[in-house]
C-alpha cells in the first residue's frame, strides 16, 4: 500500500508506576477504517490521546504521511489534521451547533455565524449528516451531539479521525447511520480509527483490527480473515493463575431474587433491561461486564438508591423467614434488613466515606442514629475503628486521621471493614480492589471469603476476569444492560466470559424508549 496516513512506532507511556502503553505499533492508511480493540484499561484511549496531543509519549515515534512529527498539544494535532471525537462530548450546552463548531477558531476577518452555518450545512450534505446548525445543544439527542463533534473535526479540515467508543451511547439505528457516514468519509480518503470493544461492530465496519491487551500491542489482522473467537482470545489473553482460595458453598439457600428488572436513566436510555437472577447465601456471585453495562445501576437498585421502572427485588429474610420486597423500601429500611452496599466507585470517597472526617467519625456515619441522648457516643465507634485498624492492618497514624490522608488501599479497607462489621446478610462490593496493591487485594479477597463462609450472600462486581474466575462461585455477565449469561466460576474460562461481555445487540433491537 501507499504511505500510511499515520504510523506509530514503539510508543510507550507510563502513569506513575503503571505502564499504560508498552512499545505499541500502529499503522493507519488513508481510505481505511481501523478498529482498535481491547478491554477496559488496555490503553486504547491513552494511545489515541497521544496522537491527539492530550498526552505526550514517554518513548517512540509518530509519523504522519511518512514524516516524523512531534505532537505536544491538541493544537499541534489540529495542525497535522488529526481530529479526535471523545467519549465525553466537549460542547457548550446553550450554544448552537454552529457556535460550538467555530468555537476557538482563529479565522481571519469578521466573525460571521451565518457563513459558518452555511459551511456546516455543506459538510452535512457531503457526508450525509442530518443536523440543523442553529439548533441549541441542550435540545439535541446524544447522537446529534456526536454529529456536532464529528462536524467540528471535519470543519477544521481533519484528515485522520479518531472516534473513542462512538457507539457506546447510540441506539442500533443511530449506529447504522454513523457507520454509513464513516463509510462515506472513508471513500473520501480519510483515515479513520475507531476505538471499541464490541466485536460485531469491529467485524461490520473495519478493514483491519489492531488489538491491545494490558497496554501491549498484540497484533493487527485483516477483518476479512478473522472471526469473533480469534479476536476474543487476542483481547483477553491466556489464563493467569492467581491462587485465590475458594471454598465450596455450604447450606446455600436463596437470599435475593431479582425478577425482570428494568431501569431507565434520566436521559431516557434503558440501562437495565429485563434482569433476572438469584443470589444465594454462602456464595460469591461475580458480575462481569464492560464498564457502563449497568453494574452500578443494578447494585443501586438493590440498595434502594436507583428508581426501578419494572420488575421485583425479593429478599428472603433469614431471621424471620419471611420474604420482603425491597423495591418499595427506602435505603434506610433496606439497610436495616441487613442488605449492605459497600459501593466503591472510581472516586472512592464519593460515596460511603467522608474524606475530611477521621476514621471514627466515618464509622459513625452508619451508627449515629443509635444513641439516645443528643450527645454523640464516640466510644463504640472508636473501638470499632481500632478493631478495623488492627484486624485489617490499616496503615494510619491514628484513628483520628482524616480519611483522605490515607492511601487508596487503606481507605478501601476502612470502607469494607465498616460494612462487614454490621453483620450483613447481603454484601455488595463494586471494584473493591481497584488501585490496590497485590497484598491489599488478597486481604480483601480473604475478607470476602470469610463473609461467604459465614453464610453471607456476596455480590462482587469486578473488572479483572482472572480474579472473577478464581474468586466467584458463579459469574453473571452483563452486556448493554442485559444478562448475557450466568456461568460457573469453576468451569468457565476467559474467552467464554469475554464473548458474553462483547455480545452486544446483534439482534438490532432498539434499547431506547420510543
Amino acid at each position: 500500500m501507499s504511505t500510511p496516513a499515520i504510523e506509530l512506532k514503539n510508543i510507550s507511556k507510563t502513569f506513575g508506576s503503571i505502564a499504560a502503553n508498552k512499545g505499541v505499533n500502529l499503522t493507519v492508511y488513508n481510505g481505511e477504517i481501523l478498529s482498535l480493540l481491547g478491554e477496559n484499561g488496555s490503553g486504547k484511549t491513552t494511545l489515541m490521546n497521544m496522537i491527539s496531543g492530550i498526552y505526550f509519549p514517554d518513548a517512540g515515534h509518530i509519523y504522519i504521511d511518512g514524516k516524523e512529527v512531534v505532537i505536544r498539544s491538541p493544537k499541534d494535532a489540529f495542525d497535522h489534521r488529526i481530529g479526535m471525537i471523545h467519549q465525553h462530548f466537549k460542547l457548550v450546552d446553550i450554544f448552537t451547533a454552529a457556535e460550538n463548531i467555530v468555537l476557538g477558531l482563529e479565522e481571519g476577518g469578521r466573525f460571521n455565524i451565518k457563513e459558518a452555518e452555511n459551511k456546516v450545512r455543506e459538510i452535512s450534505t457531503r457526508y450525509g449528516f442530518d443536523i440543523d446548525p442553529t439548533k441549541k445543544i441542550y435540545e439535541m439527542s446524544v447522537s446529534e451531539k456526536q454529529t456536532v463533534e464529528i462536524i467540528k473535526v471535519l470543519y477544521r479540515g481533519a484528515n485522520i479521525l479518531i472516534l473513542d467508543e462512538p457507539t457506546a451511547v447510540l441506539t442500533p439505528q443511530e449506529t447504522k447511520k454513523l457507520f454509513a457516514v464513516l463509510r462515506k468519509m472513508k471513500e473520501d480518503g480519510k483515515a479513520i480509527v475507531i476505538i471499541t470493544h464490541k466485536l460485531h461492530e469491529v467485524l461490520e465496519i473495519s478493514d483491519r483490527v489492531s488489538v491491545l491487551r494490558k497496554g501491549e500491542y498484540i497484533g493487527t489482522l485483516e477483518t476479512a480473515n478473522t472471526d469473533e473467537s480469534e479476536l476474543t482470545e487476542m483481547m483477553v489473553g491466556k489464563k493467569i493463575s492467581l491462587n485465590i482460595d475458594r471454598s465450596e458453598p455450604k447450606d446455600s439457600v436463596d437470599r435475593l431474587e431479582i425478577n425482570n428488572l428494568d431501569c431507565i436513566t434520566r436521559d431516557g436510555v434503558k440501562i437495565l433491561d429485563n434482569i433476572s437472577f438469584t443470589v444465594k447465601s454462602g456464595e460469591i456471585l461475580g458480575i462481569a461486564g464492560i464498564a457502563g453495562s449497568g453494574q452500578k445501576e443494578l447494585l443501586e437498585s438493590i440498595a434502594g438508591l436507583q428508581k426501578v421502572r419494572n420488575g421485583e427485588i425479593i429478599y428472603h429474610n433469614p431471621k424471620t423467614g419471611s420474604t420482603d420486597s425491597l423495591r418499595d423500601k427506602t435505603p434506610m429500611q433496606i439497610k436495616e434488613l441487613g442488605v449492605r452496599l459497600s459501593f466503591v466507585p472510581e472516586d472512592r470517597l464519593g460515596m460511603g466515606l467522608v474524606g475530611n472526617m477521621d476514621i471514627i467519625d466515618n464509622m459513625m456515619l452508619r451508627s449515629y442514629r443509635k444513641g439516645k441522648s443528643v450527645f454523640l457516643n464516640r466510644k463504640k465507634p472508636r473501638s470499632l475503628a481500632d478493631k478495623i485498624i488492627t484486624d485489617l492492618e490499616v496503615v494510619t497514624p491514628s484513628a483520628n486521621t482524616p480519611i483522605r490522608r490515607l492511601s487508596g488501599g487503606n481507605v478501601q479497607k476502612v470502607l469494607v471493614g465498616r460494612e462487614i462489621s454490621a453483620a450483613p446478610t447481603v454484601l455488595m462490593v463494586a471494584y473493591p480492589v481497584r488501585g490496590l496493591d497485590i497484598n491489599s487485594s488478597y486481604l480483601i479477597y480473604n475478607l470476602l471469603n470469610e463473609q461467604k463462609e459465614k453464610g453471607v450472600a456476596v455480590i462482587f462486581v469486578g473488572e479483572d476476569l482472572d480474579v472473577l474466575i478464581e474468586l466467584c462461585d458463579r459469574i453473571l455477565v452483563l452486556s448493554s444492560g442485559r444478562v448475557s449469561g450466568i456461568v460457573d466460576g469453576r468451569t468457565t474460562d476467559k474467552s467464554e466470559i469475554g464473548l458474553l461481555m462483547t455480545k452486544g445487540e446483534e439482534g438490532g433491537e432498539g434499547n431506547v424508549e420510543e
Binding site: F15, Y55, P74, K75, F78, K90, L91, V92, D93, I94, F95, E99, V102, L103, G104, L105, F111, K136, Y138
Partner: protein, 327 residues
C-alpha cells in the same frame, strides 16, 4: 403632576446610572464564570479614589481646568478599581481561592478603604471640614448646552453629565461584543464550560483575568459617577450605601444581558427613591418601600428557577474555579 412624573423619571435615571455601571461590570465578569461579590467594595474604591485624584489636583494648582479635573479623577478611579479586581482575579484564578469568600472580603475591604480615606484625606492635607470638590464636581455635571432649552424633555432626559451617557454606551457596546463577536463567543463559552473552551484552544486564564478587571473598572465608574455627579464632588462616609448589592441584584433581574440592564437599572433606581415621591409616608413605611428592589429580585429568581429556560440561567460554571484535568 406632569412635572412630578418628569422629575421622578429624571431622579430614577440618576439613581440608575451607578447601578448600570455596577451591573454591566458584573455581567461582564460573571460571563467569564467569575462571581465577583467584591463589586460593592470596588464601587466604593472607584468613588473614593476619584475623590483623591481630584482632591490632589485641585490642591496643587491655582486655577483648575475642567478637563484636567476629569482626567485626574477618572484615571485614579480606573486604576484603583482595576487593582481591586486584579486582587480578585489573582486570588480566584491563580491561587484558586473560593470566589464567594474572596468577593465578600473584597467588599468589606473596599468599604473600609472608602471610609478610611473619606475620614482622613483632609487630615493628610491639614484641613478641616468635609470633602467637597466643587470644580471637579462641576466639570462632571456639565451637560449638553442645549438641554436646558428643550423644556421638560431636555430637563428629564438630557440634563446629565457625560458619565451617564457613557454608562449606556458601555452597556450597548458590551452587549454587542458578547453576542456578535468572536471574543464574546469565547468569553461566554468559558463561563458556561471552561473545559470545553480550553480544549478549543482558548486561553481561559487570560479571558478570566481580563473580563474581571475590565468589569471591575466599569463598576468603579459607578462609584465615581455617584461622588462626582450625584453628590457633586462631596464625600460622606457610607453615602454610597447598598447600591453595590443592588447592582448585583440587577444582574439577575436583567438575566445577564447588558442591554436589559439599562432599563432594569432605571427601574431599580426608581424603586430606590419612589418613597420620596409617595406623599404622606412615615419614615418606617419608607424603609418598607425601600425593600421593593430586593423583593423584585427574589421574585425574578423564583420565576427563572421555576421556568428553567436554559438561556435565562446564570453561566453554568459561575462561581467555580477551573482546574485543567490532569491524570
Amino acid at each position: 403632576m406632569l412635572s412630578t412624573i418628569a422629575s421622578f423619571i429624571n431622579a430614577a435615571i440618576i439613581q440608575g446610572i451607578p447601578l448600570l455601571f455596577g451591573s454591566t461590570g458584573e455581567i461582564i465578569t460573571e460571563k467569564s464564570g467569575n462571581l465577583n461579590l467584591g463589586i460593592p467594595g470596588i464601587m466604593y474604591v472607584g468613588g473614593i479614589s476619584g475623590i483623591i485624584g481630584g482632591y490632589i489636583y485641585e490642591h496643587s494648582v491655582e486655577n483648575t481646568v475642567p478637563i484636567l479635573c476629569i482626567l485626574f479623577s477618572l484615571c485614579t478611579s480606573l486604576i484603583c478599581s482595576a487593582l481591586m479586581s486584579l486582587i480578585y482575579a489573582f486570588l480566584t484564578q491563580t491561587l484558586k481561592a473560593n470566589q464567594n469568600v474572596t468577593g465578600l472580603a473584597l467588599t468589606t475591604f473596599g468599604v473600609g478603604v472608602g471610609n478610611f480615606f473619606g475620614g482622613s484625606l483632609l487630615k493628610f492635607f491639614n484641613e478641616s471640614g468635609s470633602i467637597s470638590l466643587l470644580d471637579t464636581g462641576l466639570a462632571y455635571k456639565a451637560c449638553l448646552p442645549f438641554a436646558s432649552k428643550l423644556g421638560l424633555f431636555g430637563k428629564t432626559f438630557l440634563s446629565f453629565g457625560f458619565l451617564a451617557y457613557l454608562a449606556i454606551i458601555i452597556a450597548v457596546v458590551s452587549s454587542y461584543i458578547l453576542n456578535k463577536t468572536r471574543v464574546g463567543l469565547n468569553l461566554r463559552a468559558i463561563g458556561e464550560n471552561p473545559a470545553t473552551a480550553d480544549a478549543a484552544g482558548i486561553n481561559v486564564t487570560k479571558y478570566k483575568y481580563l473580563s474581571t478587571i475590565i468589569g471591575g473598572m466599569i463598576a468603579g465608574l459607578g462609584g465615581l459617577y455617584f461622588v462626582m455627579d450625584y453628590t457633586a464632588g462631596a464625600w460622606t462616609n457610607n453615602g454610597f450605601g447598598d447600591r453595590g448589592w443592588l447592582a448585583i441584584a440587577i444582574v439577575i433581574f436583567a438575566l445577564w444581558k447588558p442591554k436589559s440592564a439599562i432599563l432594569s437599572s432605571f427601574i431599580f433606581g426608581g424603586l430606590y427613591i419612589i418613597c420620596v415621591y409617595i406623599p404622606g409616608l412615615s419614615s418606617s413605611s419608607k424603609e418598607i418601600i425601600k425593600m421593593l428592589p430586593y423583593l423584585v429580585t427574589i421574585a425574578v429568581l423564583i420565576i427563572i428557577s421555576a421556568r428553567k429556560k436554559k438561556e435565562h440561567q446564570p453561566p453554568a460554571s459561575l462561581g467555580l474555579s477551573y482546574f485543567r484535568e490532569e491524570r
